[in-house]
């Protein structure tokens, strides 16, 4: 990569907000003294604007295609007041149906497991460390977001407890090993059922549903999310809105 390429890469990172404070300050200083660099930055910013303009044009064109065929009316004729009211009512009704249809079509085409997951997922945080030894190492690794280390430590535990299984499930989810994450969360739910306890059980069911969603298995995620939505006392009830359930249903139909 030559010097020019390096500059371009730096500028693109700058535009994307990916440079750290030090690199940003250094680049901004360079921009005050290097006119060619400044010009390249302006061109890159313009390129970004061109992309946005293109995207907006295409989006509006898509909406136009969906909307206009049902909207064109013949030139207005003189009508009586009753006809006018009927016409207006029909227009409004047609408009409502059209909007509802368009909205559903839009949701249907745009809803994905990825977008639903991104809107729903919140990282589980462990605020305190307990004990010492392997368990403490596992929690420490989790707090440090070293998920591979969490998994390694977990796999070395002779008899992992509920909390360790749960954090391992989180780590598998974040490392995109979905079958292993499902196994962890399911184990917690089963263990609680057998022992008639509820330790992290509701957390496990919520993250189990999220794992299915992330693994693009909305039909498996849907009943669990519905159960959470219907149970007003569930720990995660307020996170699972009716609107989210509807979007998940749309996604299930798609799949």
């Amino acid at each position: 990569m030559n010097n020019n390429d390096t500059n371009t890469e730096k500028l693109i990172r700058y535009i994307d907000g990916e440079t750290d404070t030090e690199a940003t300050a250094e680049l901004e200083h360079e921009l005050t003294v290097d006119l060619a660099l400044r010009e390249e930055l302006e061109n890159l910013l313009l390129a970004k604007d061109v992309v946005k303009h293109y995207g907006l044009t295409k989006k509006i064109a898509a909406i136009r295609v969906a909307m206009l065929p049902g909207m064109i009316h013949s030139p207005a004729k003189k009508t009586g007041i009753v006809k006018l009211i009927i016409n207006n009512t029909m227009k409004i009704a047609a408009g409502i149906i059209l909007i509802a249809g368009l909205f559903l079509l839009y949701q249907y085409t745009t809803v994905t497991s990825g977008t639903l997951y991104a809107g729903q997922y919140t990282e589980y945080s462990v605020s305190t460390f307990r004990g010492s030894g392997a368990v403490s190492t596992l929690e420490k690794a989790y707090n440090e977001k070293n998920y591979s280390q969490v998994i390694t430590t977990y796999e070395q535990l002779p008899v992992p407890g509920i909390r360790e299984i749960f954090l391992a499930g989180q780590a598998f989810l974040l490392n995109e090993n979905y079958p292993a994450a499902v196994k962890c969360f399911t184990t917690i739910i089963e263990k609680n059922k057998v022992a008639n306890t509820s330790l992290l059980s509701e957390d496990a069911s919520y993250y189990l549903a999220l794992t299915y969603l992330k693994a693009n298995q909305p039909t498996s995620a849907l009943p669990i999310f519905k159960q959470i939505h219907d149970d007003k006392n569930h720990l995660y009830n307020t996170r699972v809105s009716g609107w989210f359930i509807k979007k998940l249903q749309l996604l299930s139909w798609k799949s």
Binding site: V50, V51, L56, I63, I99
Partner: protein
């Protein structure tokens, strides 16, 4: 979902500025303004197709103006859109050498106070040209750049959705696409100058 509600101008402006409600605002603009603007064009030598094309341009320009906080609101949205539509159509007729007998020039006497209309008309040609520039990029580059800069997806999400091996491979590809686009632009300084004016909506 409240798109059928009759939004005030202030509410509509707020919806356009919020990514989550921009689509609803576009639908609302079509529902409430297309008919009126279409009639003007069809009564002045234009076809339905002309009306649809011009209205699309009007909406794109208006939304960009609002999103860049350049819409001053000195006229109502209805008046403003009508004014852009009319001037854009007269501009189109002039371009085709078919000026209206009674309006050989833009209606400067009746020009509304919001000067954004002038800027939109002045930048029209450049905005049309830039669509051609994007088409020269190729489908893959367009998809990557649109996903990142227009849809605001993270690199991680794009890796997943577009089946890339890893983030670095995608990052390299995006870099090349952006560089290509920048070169297409810098190779045409006259267009760059026009685009800078057109996209900033200022002269």
């Amino acid at each position: 979902m409240e798109v059928v509600k009759n939004y005030s101008d202030e509410e509509l402006i707020a919806m356009i500025k919020d990514d989550a409600t921009t689509d609803n605002a576009i639908v609302f603009l079509y529902m409430h303004h297309f008919e009126n603007l279409r009639l003007y064009i069809q009564q002045n030598q234009g076809s339905l197709q002309d009306a649809e094309d011009i209205f699309q341009e009007v909406i794109v320009a208006f939304i960009e103006l609002v999103q860049k906080n350049k819409f001053r609101g000195e006229a109502s949205i209805n008046t403003f859109l009508y004014s852009i539509n009319k001037n854009m159509w007269l501009n189109e007729l002039k371009r085709k050498g078919r000026a209206l007998a009674r309006e050989t020039n833009f209606e400067t006497g009746k020009q509304i106070a919001d000067t954004g209309v002038d800027d939109i008309i002045a930048g029209r040609e450049a905005r049309l040209e830039m669509l051609g520039i994007m088409d020269k990029l190729g489908e893959l580059c367009k998809s990557i750049l649109l996903a990142f800069y227009f849809d605001n997806f993270s690199m991680k999400e794009i890796v997943k959705n577009m089946n890339y091996e890893n983030e670095q491979v995608l990052r390299n590809k995006k870099y090349k696409c952006m560089k290509n686009l920048e070169q297409l632009l810098s190779g045409n300084p006259a267009l760059v100058k026009k685009l800078k004016t057109a996209l900033k909506y200022e002269q």
